[in-house]
């Protein structure tokens, strides 16, 4: 954060520090805050104040989008609890999970040669979404039990799935464009 707000993201929006959040309330408070800090509210202010409002509005956007996304929120919550992520050095080592990932990735590569590529891709995307939802539930249980390292391992796996999800979306776009 570089706009001077040192409070954590949950506090910015007046929400309890928890994985389960009231997303409606988050969105409402977000809008309320943007109404006061957005640069458009400072269109006639001095340049310094306008710059400051850009930074504040950027901070609030960052905080909002971090909390809005379940995966980002999961990771951020652990960081507030002192868990450190070192993405360069650490990767998940669960061999079963890695095998699953490779299989999913292969299935994704095979979509292009399938007879009904859209249906095939749709199945894979639903499968990924189901896995993500399931792991988020698991994560939530870990947080409730205070098992932070286990929760961290789940976040690392979720990051794999998230990448796969993005790749599947790119593939979908390519298929749509090819029509």
């Amino acid at each position: 954060m570089n706009g001077g707000t040192s409070t954590n993201y949950f506090e910015i929006f007046g929400l309890p520090v928890d994985f389960e959040i009231d997303s409606q309330l988050l969105a409402e408070h977000y809008r309320e805050l943007q109404k006061t800090v957005h640069p458009d509210r400072y269109a006639n202010a001095s340049e310094r104040d306008r710059r400051m409002s850009v930074l504040q509005a950027a901070d609030i956007n960052e905080a909002f989008h971090t909390l809005k996304s379940p995966l980002k929120r999961a990771r951020y919550l652990l960081q507030t609890k002192g868990v450190i992520f070192d993405d360069e050095k650490e990767t998940t080592i669960d061999p079963d999970f890695l095998v699953e990932q490779m299989e999913l990735r292969e299935a994704l590569t095979d979509v292009n040669s399938s007879a009904d590529a859209f249906a095939e891709l749709n199945d894979i995307m639903q499968d990924i979404a189901k896995r993500i939802a399931h792991m988020l539930d698991e994560y939530n249980d870990c947080i409730k039990m205070g098992e932070l390292q286990k929760a961290k391992a789940i976040v690392q796996k979720l990051q794999f799935l998230e990448k796969l999800k993005i790749e599947s979306e790119i593939l979908e776009e390519e298929l749509a464009n090819a029509i």
Binding site: N2, H29, E47, R48, D49, A176
Partner: protein, 623 residues
């Protein structure tokens, strides 16, 4: 219990002081200016009663500049000195222009600058200068109608415009002597025009097919907030392409070869456009083309044939609609309204196909040519401070991903597309070799992984990195996108605390000195010297700073210790004194001193505002 106060937004506008503001739609084919008068927003007509100003500029040898219908009339006789559709060239490099097709009927000058210049009898003109000539006419029209100098304007741009194109548009405004309050995305402007009239709540899609650009935006409306959820489109697709498709078809039918002269190409394009417009209401249009051999070719274009010609183009827009919906994580049945913008949405086939895709008839109540300017006028009125109680707020997104070149010609994305702006994001990088003291940062915009497939926005170097072993230095690169969608990139070396920040200028943009030179050369500033303009600018800024601080001290002076108040007050007095003089450099310095003295105060006030915003909110909830 005492009620908690909610502080007002940080504006220092005095009451009853109505500021003159206007919204400008700087279009590919036509441009408009609109303003809010007696609480109604409407476009302003010219002296002859025309609302649309054709975006055509004709340059004459004696330096006279014609803009609009009169210029358009010169197009076929003097094509080389008559510039149309200049918006397509805004923020583009020469390389891009070759891509745009061989049919641009202008001659370009080879220069050292990356900005293309069009050869005319009145000298070489950059797209920014041509656009500024259009803006000057609109400025004059607004000032004559409203009876005074404009305090500020909102200029609209396609949501899909990249950083270079936005910067070029803002530069054109500056060159025309306008105070640009905001660059507003055209679809957002259209939503504002519709939304305020209907007090809509929910998700709306804005389908904007203009002469040269296509935008699709998905917005959520909620209690006066217009939140763009996603945006997409094509900066080189529009009604002109319909005309081109028709013209190509006529060429085939009439046996005209590809190397036909400029004059015939112009006639073909205007005949194609006329046929397209005629087919809006009738089932067939007759064609008449005078060929280069003096003979006339006659033919007919049916609506069915037209549909066949343009269907692939409409299909391209639907692919973009699908992508925008997915980015917004919205399905078609959640879309409550589809707003049509741009003259090309008059084509019946477009309405039919888009209605089919969204499974509802699109909204066409507001004139699709005027709707963007009207929305921009409403936003300009709010930004100028004429509606302090207005709750309207527009939250836009970045249309394209922004990133840096990393090893192996790959792009590392720092800010993905459709991120809400303003946004600031930092990423750390390190050195590759022992003792490395400099680093080149290459900024890119686009969705692809390879540097060569993305658009280069610029490069800059960070020097004087203290020599260390490879991988030890920590260089933090920060991308910041402001509310206009304009990017600035800064880099600093962190381990030693040594800071080196650089502002980036897009590769295809004009440099500050180029703009300064153009300002010097332009007619508006001919009698005016640059010193005087600088003085005025600094005086305006000084007044803003003084005003705002006096109000702040009155309201929140109790947040400061006595010595803090003294420090601020002495800097304030100094600025007030220097402000009376005519040394703009001294005024700037005094502003800087006062800003430094009051930065901590401003930060505390902003934090208080934030806390109060939610405090007021929670109070309401628990009542």
């Amino acid at each position: 219990m005492a009620l908690l106060q909610i502080s007002e937004p940080g504006q220092s506008t005095k009451p009853h002081e109505r500021r003159l503001a206007a919204g400008i739609d700087l279009g590919t084919t036509n441009s408009l200016v609109a303003s809010v008068r007696s609480s109604l927003a409407d476009t302003l007509p010219s002296e002859t009663g025309e609302h649309l100003l054709p975006s055509v500029v004709h340059y004459l040898a004696d330096g006279e500049v014609m803009v609009g219908a009169a210029a358009k009339a010169q197009a076929s006789q003097d094509p080389l000195n008559t510039i149309a559709s200049i918006k397509r060239l805004m923020g583009r490099g020469l390389g891009d222009i070759k891509h745009l097709g061989s049919r641009l009927p202008y001659e370009f000058t080879q220069t050292d600058s990356s900005v293309p210049r069009i050869k005319t009898v009145a000298g070489d003109k950059s797209p920014v200068e041509v656009s500024a000539d259009i803006l000057r006419v609109l400025k004059r029209r607004a000032e004559q109608t409203l009876g005074g100098e404009l305090d500020g304007v909102v200029i609209t741009v396609p949501a899909y415009f990249d950083d270079a194109q936005r910067q070029a548009t803002k530069d054109a405004g500056k060159l025309a002597g306008l105070n640009v309050l905001r660059l507003l995305n055209e679809p957002t402007a259209a939503a504002v025009a519709y939304g305020l009239d209907r007090s809509n709540e929910g998700v709306i899609a804005v389908y904007d097919l203009g002469g040269g650009t296509f935008d699709i935006s998905i917005l959520r409306l909620n209690k006066g907030i217009f939140e763009v959820m996603s945006t997409g489109g094509d900066t080189a697709l529009g009604g002109d392409d319909f005309d081109l498709a028709i013209a190509n078809w006529i060429m085939q039918q009439a046996g005209v070869s590809d190397d036909a002269g400029h004059g015939l190409l112009r006639r073909l394009m205007s005949e194609a456009c006329a046929a397209k417009e005629a087919l809006t209401s009738s089932d067939s249009a007759s064609l008449n083309i005078e060929l280069e051999n003096g003979k006339t070719w006659r033919g007919e274009l049916s609506r069915a044939q037209l549909n066949q010609l343009i269907d692939p183009l409409i299909q391209k827009t639907i692919v973009a609609c699908r992508r925008a919906l997915r980015d917004a994580q919205i399905s078609t049945d959640e879309v409550q309204a589809v707003v049509m913008v741009g003259g090309s949405t008059r084509v019946p086939r477009v309405r039919e196909k888009i209605g089919e895709f969204f499974a509802q008839p699109p909204l066409v109540d507001i004139d699709p040519d005027k709707v963007v300017a009207i929305g921009a006028a409403l936003q300009a009125d709010v930004l100028a401070g004429n509606k302090p109680d207005d709750e309207m707020l527009l939250l836009d997104v970045t249309p394209l991903s922004l990133g840096l070149e990393t090893m192996g010609g790959l792009v590392e994305k720092i800010i993905p597309r459709n991120t809400t702006i303003p946004v600031a994001r930092a990423q750390d990088f390190t050195t590759y070799k022992d003792g490395q003291t400099a680093m080149t940062i290459h900024v890119l915009q686009g969705e692809r992984e390879l540097v060569s497939d993305c658009r280069s926005l610029g490069r800059f170097s960070l020097h004087e990195i203290p020599p260390m072993v490879a991988g030890a230095a920590r260089i933090r690169v920060t991308f910041q996108v402001d509310a206009d969608g304009l990017l600035s990139v800064t880099a600093q070396e962190e381990t030693t605390g040594k800071q080196a920040s650089i502002q980036i200028k897009p590769s295809y943009g004009l440099t500050d000195s180029e703009i300064e030179n153009m300002l010097r050369d332009s007619i508006d500033y001919a009698k005016d010297d640059v010193e005087a303009r600088n003085l005025r600018e600094q005086q305006v800024e000084a007044d803003r700073v003084i005003d705002a601080l006096q109000i702040a001290l009155q309201k929140d002076g109790d947040m400061l210790t006595e010595s803090e108040v003294k420090a601020i007050e002495s800097a304030l007095l100094h600025l007030q004194k220097v402000r009376q003089g005519d040394d703009h450099r001294a005024i700037k310095k005094a502003i800087d001193v006062l800003n430094t003295a009051s930065t901590e105060f401003a930060a505390r006030r902003m934090n208080k505002t934030i806390k109060q915003a939610l405090a007021g909110h929670q109070l309401k909830e628990f009542e």
